[in-house]
């Protein structure tokens, strides 16, 4: 009997590895190998364009600790993540719930909120440079119309990063909305109907039924949103190049600057590895706290 069990377990294990194999082959070649190389590079003086590398030991990491700009960039990145992720996901959740119905016109709404995801970042960045123009930009005109003070947005080191956050809510809410919408469709509708008949308010239904039911997807969206927010690069690159006064310089842009503009691959690798360790820690924390509270419909 137990031998049978062992045999089934072994069969299941072999099947699992076989199913993972295709992914692992590609990941090994194009993700793990670069990471291994990056660890190796980070211990060396590596100049982009020069095949020779020189051993440095921990010097790149020590440099990082004393790099004033690195700490500023880390702060900017944290600010961006802590504002853009909760705001876009909250907006996405409300949009998804509002659009999860069979009413007429919903298809148009869905397209209206999703299309920003499709605009190439080069073009989207340029359009927002125009929208944010202090002198004649529509956003400042609207602020004046509402009786609010005008802002210098991208020209002001205090407002440039918030400006990019606002733009990213426009750009990414639709993206999270689509994923959440897919999850909402899997929530059995009788649950809602029943609660509605019991006179439970829409807000309570959202908190006590909808959110627990889609918690696996919400969990996914929070993790992916956080990881993606660390990768923000395009808008900084197109709109501000990290300025003014480094106020919009974020980690991926800083890594790009060091590796490709300054040719300092060793230091860029050290930055990337530091980021990886940081993110791994963060994800560990999220999965230990949020992950435990996720309720999977298919599992008892």
């Amino acid at each position: 009997m137990s031998q049978n069990l062992v045999r089934t377990q072994r069969k299941e294990m072999l099947l699992a590895y076989a199913l993972l194999l295709p992914s692992l082959v590609f990941l090994a070649a194009f993700t793990y190998w670069p990471i291994v190389r990056s660890i190796w590079f980070s211990l060396h003086d590596v100049l982009l364009g020069d095949p020779d590398i020189y051993w440095l030991g921990a010097e790149n990491y020590l440099r990082l600790l004393n790099d004033r700009l690195f700490w500023k960039v880390l702060g900017n990145t944290a600010f961006y993540t802590l504002t853009s992720v909760p705001l876009s996901i909250a907006a996405a959740l409300l949009l998804a719930v509002a659009l999860d119905s069979k009413l007429r016109g919903m298809a148009i709404y869905r397209s209206a909120f999703f299309y920003p995801v499709m605009i190439p970042s080069v073009a989207a960045g340029m359009v927002w440079v125009f929208l944010y123009a202090p002198g004649y930009g529509p956003i400042n005109e609207a602020l004046t119309g509402l009786g609010l003070p005008r802002l210098d947005w991208l020209y002001d080191s205090k407002w440039a990063l918030p400006a990019i956050v606002i733009m990213s809510i426009w750009k990414y809410s639709g993206y999270f909305m689509l994923i959440l919408l897919a999850a909402l469709k899997l929530v059995p509708s009788d649950l809602h109907e029943a609660a509605k008949l019991d006179g439970i308010s829409a807000w309570d239904r959202l908190i006590h039924i909808t959110i627990p039911m889609i918690s696996p997807t919400l969990y996914f969206v929070i993790i992916i949103g956080t990881l993606h927010s660390y990768q923000i690069f395009d808008y900084v690159y197109v709109m501000t190049q990290g300025g003014p006064a480094d106020s919009t310089n974020v980690l991926t842009f800083y890594i790009y600057q060091n590796g490709f503009q300054y040719q300092d691959i060793g230091y860029a690798s050290a930055l990337a590895n530091a980021l990886l360790i940081f993110v791994l820690g963060l994800i560990g924390l999220v999965s230990l706290t949020l992950g435990r509270r996720v309720h999977y419909l298919g599992e008892r």
């Binding site: 003086d45 100049l47 982009l48 364009g49 020069d50 095949p51 020779d52 020189y54 700009l69 340029m126 440079v129 125009f130 944010y132 123009a133 202090p134 002198g135 004649y136 004046t144 003070p149 005008r150 210098d152 991208l154 020209y155 002001d156 080191s157 709109m239 501000t240 190049q241 990290g242 300025g243 003014p244 006064a245 480094d246 600057q257 490709f260 503009q261 300054y262 040719q263």
Partner: protein, 410 residues
Amino acid sequence: MPHVLMPAHAAETVKLQFMYPVGVSGDINTIISGMIDEFNATHDGIVVEAIYAGSYDNTEQKVITSLGVGEPPSLWLPINSSLQTFLGLDALEDITEQAKSDDIYDDFIGGFLGTAISNDRLYGLSFQPSTPVLYYNKDAFAQAGIPEAPETWDQLFETAKALTVRDGDELKRWGLIIGGGWHDWMFEGYCRQNGLVPWEQDKVLWDRPESVEALAFWKTMVDAGCMAPASTWQGSANDFMAGSTAMLYHSTGSLTNLRTSSPFEVGVAFMPKRKTWGASQGGGPIMIAKNQSDAQKEAAYTFARWMTNTENQAAWSRATGYLAVRKSSWEMPEMQEYLVEVPQAKVAMEQSAYSGAFLQVPAYSKAREVLKSAIDRTLAGEVEVEAALASATDEVNREIARVMRRQQRG
């Protein structure tokens, strides 16, 4: 070449790759492709493949990445500031002798030729030079009763104050915007106008009194509320076209776009002087790779020479707004007509007599970023002028030393 010889030569066809950025407008891509088709049609035995490589930055990165794997393109067109970067990688073919036995040293305008010279050796043929100039809104000047563009820093300050328009607290129009993202380039112009080239081959000199004075002047204008403390490169050009600023420092490369897209008459003037006129060269030379066969080097020189010949430079200049590099190009009747039609181009041309290479130090990219950040923080009031420039100078010089130490090991 006699037709009978063709088959033999065809067997020895030399293939060249040429990587170039597109800096002014998409049409440049078509113009460059057209030039290359013409070259290929008229030169047996050489086939050039033109590779669009993005912006100046992207182009440099693409070339350097291919250098790292030992397969550089035959030629590329980077920004002139990258000269020391490529020399540090031992990537450039020295073309001094060929150029001297040719007419390059006689016919190229000195300031342009100089952007590809290091230690008296020539490493490229200047192809599309540009400098910053002062663009001004002639309608706004007329309304304010100002007849002429300012010629000195003091006049610039007065003019900017006079042209700034406020409605209560609300700013309607700035007097002056210095194109952000490249404001370090303009700043070097200010240093030159104040009598200092703020770098040497192995260090930067931003902590000298001349530089400090230049930044202090910017700070005065910002504090007086007549100059924007920061901007972006795209945004500042838009601001000018939309009438949000009366004056703008931007590249001569923008001339055609600003002239044709602004709903008012655009004036172009020298950047105002202090002790002297002065500007730094932007734009770049065509460089030739060292790591390739002699036949390729020879063909590459032929191609670079052809791209910068009198007729091609004249045509290129008229099509793009970049300045022609040859004296003989400017003497052609077409160019004389062009100058009558677009007198603004002449200003840019004349200013280039007072210009020199831009920040040709090792680690120039990092140097640029550090300087831009220091300028931004000063103008935002976060640091004092002197302290900002002193620490930026210190940081960059340490980085240059680090890079040079590394190059000596290699």
